[in-house]
């Protein structure tokens, strides 16, 4: 089952469980994949119908079924885009002067369809790395190689979209701004409006399209930035702290959107995002880069399409009412290598041979009080605490 079939199966499952909003979102993604005016118009027709018939679930199911079948027929033979390497960084260093902060050296390869999360404390180089990747900063050393066609530096920067944490104000109506973007990117004039409508709906902005920038919340501003980014068809999306100022539900939705955008079978893009929301980023990312005072620590090693975790220990974060000494005595027989107390939580490290299940059995057997537990072996969380 290829990526397209896998994703299509997901839509079938959503439909089966009557999760229509999700079905619509994913169907819009596939409609965008067709890059065909007739499909855009058909989907827009359905969306217009939905505006007035939102309560007609039976009607929705029937129409969605038809659209799924049509899109499947259209896309099943369309060649899928290969997951090519987009950019490689070799010993990249960015220095702001002697005795001041410096980033790097950074070694990284980014692929189409891949999401890379940048994590680290404030002032450790996440934004510097993003700005270097988008061409806004020139590295002091090392090389950044872009593996796609561009005619000059300006043309390169049109293919790299960087969304900073504080975005510039958009003037005029949001819809007009998006139309201008689409028009500048050379879409067929007849396609521009249906396409923009679809993207607006895809990101849940249908109600806000005629709003002004200042009347939007941070979350919706971010969504409009994403809508514009989708119209720009970038090779690489670089986004700084997209989850800041978003509630937990909005964070999950936007991360899911990132996944859908990056993993498109036909139009995959590479996404690099920085965030302080460690768990959420790790859930979404294929690769997580931890930056500590500008120095890179990768959780996994990339080799083509496979990833390997670099250090193989069992690392458990937990809370307990017992003291560090009592816990040490109790866990020592299981092979405890270290036990750190870290601001209310304990971090216990065991050899690779110890599994999470064995740890839980041991805790249960010895009735160790443990209201909170998390396996952080696969998480950069351990870089924060060690």
């Amino acid at each position: 089952m290829n990526e397209f079939e896998k994703q299509f199966q997901e839509i079938e499952d959503y439909l089966k469980f009557e999760d229509y909003p999700l079905v619509i979102k994913r169907l819009i993604d596939f409609t965008l994949d067709t890059e065909t005016l007739s499909c855009y118009l058909e989907m827009n027709q359905f969306l217009d119908w939905l505006d007035y018939n939102g309560n007609d679930t039976a009607g929705q199911a029937t129409r969605l079924r038809q659209l799924i079948d049509q899109l499947y027929a259209f896309l099943k033979d369309k060649p899928q885009a290969p997951r090519e390497v987009l950019v490689t960084l070799k010993d990249v260093v960015k220095s702001y002067g002697t005795g001041r902060f410096g980033l790097g050296p950074i070694d990284l390869a980014l692929y189409a369809g891949q999401i890379v999360g940048l994590v680290g404390e404030n002032g450790n180089g996440k934004t510097t790395l993003l700005r270097s990747l988008c061409g806004e900063l020139h590295p002091s050393g090392g090389t950044i190689t872009y593996h796609f066609k561009y005619t000059d530096r300006y043309d390169l920067r049109t293919q790299l979209v960087y969304i900073p944490q504080r975005t510039d104000t958009w003037y005029g109506s949001m819809y007009q701004n998006l139309i201008l973007t689409a028009s500048s990117y050379g879409y067929d004039p007849e396609m521009i409006e249906p396409l923009t409508q679809l993207i607006i709906t895809r990101l849940g902005l249908r109600k806000y399209r005629l709003h002004s920038w200042n009347s939007l919340s941070s979350g919706y501003k971010m969504r409009f930035e994403l809508a514009r980014m989708l119209l720009r068809k970038p090779k690489l999306l670089l986004i700084d702290e997209p989850l800041a100022n978003l509630d937990i539900l909005a964070q999950q939705t936007i991360l899911e959107d990132f996944r859908a955008i990056a993993k498109s079978p036909f139009r995959p893009i590479g996404i690099v995002l920085s965030s302080q929301q460690l768990y959420e980023v790790e859930k979404t990312s294929d690769q997580v880069v931890f930056l500590k005072q500008g120095v890179q620590k990768n959780l996994r090693q990339e080799s083509g399409t496979t990833t390997e975790t670099l250090e193989n220990f069992l690392v458990i974060e937990f809370e307990s009412t017992l003291t560090q000494g009592e816990l040490g005595n109790l866990l020592q027989p299981l092979g405890l290598e270290s036990l750190q107390f870290n601001g209310g939580t304990f971090i216990a490290t065991f050899p690779e041979s110890v599994t999470r299940l064995q740890f839980l059995e041991w805790v249960t057997r010895h009735e160790i009080p443990m209201p909170y537990f998390r396996d952080i072996s696969q998480s950069t969380r351990r870089f924060f605490v060690s």
Binding site: G135, E136, H138, D152, Y154, L180, T181, G186, R232
Partner: protein
Amino acid sequence: MFKSIQQRLILRYPLLWNTKIIPMGVLLLGLNLCFFILGFALNGISFEETHRNFFDFDATLLLLSLVISLLVLILWLVNYFKNNMLKSFYPTSKYHVYKEWGLIFLLCFGISSPIYWYNLGKETRYRSYFSREELEKRCVTLRAGSFFLDGSYSYHESENTVETDVVAVDTVSVDSVETNGEARNYFMYRGKKYKNTSLLNKNVNSYILFDKKSDSTAIEKLKFWLVTQQKDSLKQLFTDYLKIVKEHQLEANINAEQWLSLINDYPLFEKSHTIGPQMTNDEYYPNIYNNQSVVRDTIDRYIARDNTGTEQEFYKYYVPEKKLNFNYARMADAHEDPDVNLETLIIPVYFALALSLLILSFRVTSGRSWLIGLIAVIILNIILGIFSVIISSSFTYGIGYCVAFIIVSVLFFNTVGQNRTKGYSGVVLNLFLWLLPGLIPLLYELLESYLHYEYNAIDTINLQYSTAYQFKQWLENHVFEINWTNIFLVSIAMLFIGKKIRLWRGIAEA
């Protein structure tokens, strides 16, 4: 309609939409057309006028055009600066910056030209009264008529100068022969001697339509009519003259017969009556003249009280020559030497060029770089000004300007070539764009100063044969061509510079 045009533009031609060329173009066309209409409507000729009114519409309209242009500029900039495709890194063609500058330049020209259109309307109105041929015919009559009215006489230093048939009449002229002690008091004409105060020695009021040769020929013809007593021709001339007077509903207190009899003091024409050029009392000879030792022809003038009760001297016989002369001169100027021409067009074009480069530089760099650039230009000018004063040389400013231009050019192109970081090159780019249009005019000034310096060393007799003098004359005679060439060259240079600006935009900020 505008909405659908704008919608079409945003979908197909984002640059045209973004510069708001259609709404602004229509607005500016309307504005300039309004000023043309105002110029046409407010400048009808009243033949009662003898001079420019203290209050005329020109100054008011100039102020009005400045205020409106400023408001339109602000309105446009507010809308234009809403989106910036270059700063957002939207895909653009290599000539995008050039096209955008071209559009800015067009709009800036529209913003800076209402007063030009006002003047064009005014002169069109002046030209609309008579065709060039009809006007020339009338001016021939008015010029000939002025020969028989109060006015200046020719000045003669030797007999030889008056023996020829054609003499340049306005080479030397005097209002009254008594005022110049060196003048001869007689002259020769066709072998006969006449007093300088003879009617045959009169000058004419000419018009821009005629050259000196034409005036001399006209005078010669009139003299010939007088000495050969061609009364019919003279009477016909006076009839034609008075017909023009009547047509403009003006007043004369003599008819053609009377006019002829008043001036025809054959054969010497020494006691011809003086016919005044004015009938109203707003131009008068104050009575004080009579208290001085000035001989006045009391036969042709009388003393009376004017409306204010002051005693004034009035002509006994008059035609409204001043009114006709003033208004026909205006019309002749509008036909022959209009104020609105390619030479004066250069003023709004230069203004538009400067404004367009200021706007473009702000557009492609940043407000911060633009402001620093502005301060740098002010400081540069102060320094060059101080140096010019200290060194007391006309070369200092020009040389300083050229050196500054060379430095910023090298810095800018080096930044683009190295493709590393922009650094302070935003400021440099601003300076480069602002100094560019002044380069050729400054080189012109430098060259002129140099030539002046060169030919100052040559003695006066050989001056006109020196190459430096001839070249300087050529430069002075072609100042407008050189400025148009400068504008053309800047426009061509912008094609290349625009491509470099686009590349510069792609360079890393730091």
